[in-house]
């Protein structure tokens, strides 16, 4: 058995160990690779920066606990920017565990001095996916009759002037993708298209390809898609956080995957001519 034959039959556990080591090294000893900010991240940052102070914005945590490492940097970067601009922030979630994720995330900002029902409110989870978004957009108080803390919605000062989604200056979904809940497509169909409320999306990396047409068609104002744009956003805020910290590990993960693909192809071409080889 020559080298390439050994390579083709390599034990899957060896691949797993190599990937784990490759990802672990930069987490222990960061490489600190420089990163430039791409135009899309700059566009989103500039759009929010130009919004008037005190604007009302809503952010929907449309992801579950499994997507926290990829999407929480985007959610936190947006919220940091919103609070820096003095926006009134309304959070909600279309996934069942997203309700808890939003509460966990906002608890961090509460510890930093943000005041409930003055700077932000957490409305919690709404069921129904796209139909739920449509219902909430048309009548915000009908879908959430109480907030996530159990307070009747009419008793919240921040909800006084909110009737429909038109009362918001901007909407944002941080979204992990398809799954029968409030997907990016559902939000785009129900909010910016119907009510003309400006909208920004932060999908997971796998959803970026599907979301680009909405930006070029002018239906949404921009996208922070995946971990790298979140890291870029943190750099724009001059507040490096989880996104920037994860970039070196992601560099290692992507490099090792490409190396494995190249190695697999080298083995394929080296063994292609042997009798009975897969063509």
């Amino acid at each position: 058995m020559n080298f390439w034959e050994k390579m083709e039959k390599v034990d899957v556990r060896i691949i797993f160990v190599v990937v784990i080591i490759a990802i672990a090294i930069p987490l222990v000893k960061p490489l600190g690779l420089p990163m430039k900010v791409m135009p899309m991240s700059q566009q989103v940052y500039d759009y929010i920066e130009k919004m008037p102070n005190g604007s009302k914005v809503f952010l929907s945590f449309d992801y579950g606990t499994g997507s926290i490492p990829e999407l929480e940097p985007a959610a936190k970067a947006f919220l940091t920017h919103f609070f820096r601009k003095g926006f009134k922030v309304y959070t909600m979630a279309s996934t069942a565990d997203g309700g808890m994720v939003s509460q966990m995330c906002m608890a961090g900002f509460e510890k930093l001095g943000k005041v409930y029902d003055k700077d932000f409110i957490t409305l919690g989870y709404f069921a129904g996916g796209e139909a739920g978004i449509a219902a909430w957009s048309a009548d915000a108080k009908k879908v959430f009759q109480r907030d996530a803390r159990g307070t009747p919605i009419d008793q919240l000062a921040m909800m006084k002037d909110i009737k429909t989604v038109k009362d918001f200056t901007l909407g944002v979904t941080v979204n992990s993708g398809p799954g029968g809940y409030g997907t990016v497509e559902a939000w785009v169909r129900q909010v910016p298209i119907v009510y003309k409320t400006p909208f920004i999306v932060a999908p997971g990396g796998a959803m970026v390809a599907n979301t680009i047409p909405y930006i070029q068609a002018g239906q949404i104002q921009g996208m922070i898609g995946g971990l790298r744009p979140s890291a870029e956003y943190e750099l724009l805020l001059k507040e490096p956080g989880l996104g920037v910290a994860a970039m070196d590990a992601q560099s290692a993960a992507h490099s090792i995957m490409i190396a494995f693909i190249l190695l697999g192809n080298a083995a394929y071409f080296a063994l292609r001519k042997r009798p009975g080889a897969r063509q």
Partner: protein, 206 residues
């Protein structure tokens, strides 16, 4: 009657929803808004039905001592205790938050991360340049992957721009075609349901 009444309801609500978007008529808008509000309520009940169904399946596993039945016991114990805790003390309770952060978040993020290992393994075994199309896919995939990380820039400064071009031009063209085609297909399916031609949602065939 068992079939024609649901079809009639689907026709009336479907057509009503379409016109609700275009017409400002309180006589139409108000009932349609009410119907929209039913959906989150119905979905909430579906969650209860799902929980009861799951508990039922695992109850049968325990009752018949099927292989791995002890996992079903753990599911019963954990599910009922978390539901009881959430219902009695609320989701802001320290114990509930502890379980959420240290069991659900930890286990689900670990499971998501395991995907990277399988991606590397499957990429090594299956992502082969067997023909021209596969080669184009492989090269463009590798470039987009490198564009997403700083090491891409470190290798060659133009890689992020090349990755962006692949996403914004060829990908966008393909995605638009798929979206428009599926949109037209979706309209066709909706029209068939609203006109009563497609009845498979009632159960059984056409």
């Amino acid at each position: 009657m068992r079939r024609s009444l649901p079809v009639l309801i689907a026709i009336v609500v479907g057509i009503g929803m379409v016109f609700d978007l275009f017409l400002k008529l309180p006589l139409l808008n108000n009932p349609m808004a009410e119907v929209r509000n039913w959906m989150p309520i119905m979905t909430s009940f579906a969650v209860i039905v799902g929980c009861v169904g799951l508990l039922n399946v695992h109850y049968k596993n325990i009752q018949r001592k099927r292989p791995g039945w002890y996992n079903s016991v753990i599911l019963w114990a954990v599910m009922l205790s978390v539901i009881a805790l959430g219902c009695t003390k609320g989701t802001r309770d320290a114990t509930y938050s502890f379980i959420f952060n240290n069991v659900l978040v930890a286990s689900s993020t670990t499971l998501s991360a395991v995907g990277a290992l399988f991606l590397a393994s499957s990429g090594f075994r299956a992502f082969r340049a067997t023909n021209t199309n596969a080669t184009i896919l492989l090269i463009s995939g590798a470039l987009v992957m490198l564009a997403q990380v700083p090491i891409g820039e470190a290798i060659y400064g133009q890689i992020p721009n090349i990755g962006n071009w692949i996403m914004n031009v060829p990908n966008n063209a393909g995605q638009r075609g798929i979206m428009i085609a599926s949109g037209v297909g979706f309209i066709t399916v909706c029209l068939r349901i609203m006109l009563g031609y497609t009845r498979s949602y009632l159960g059984g065939g056409e």
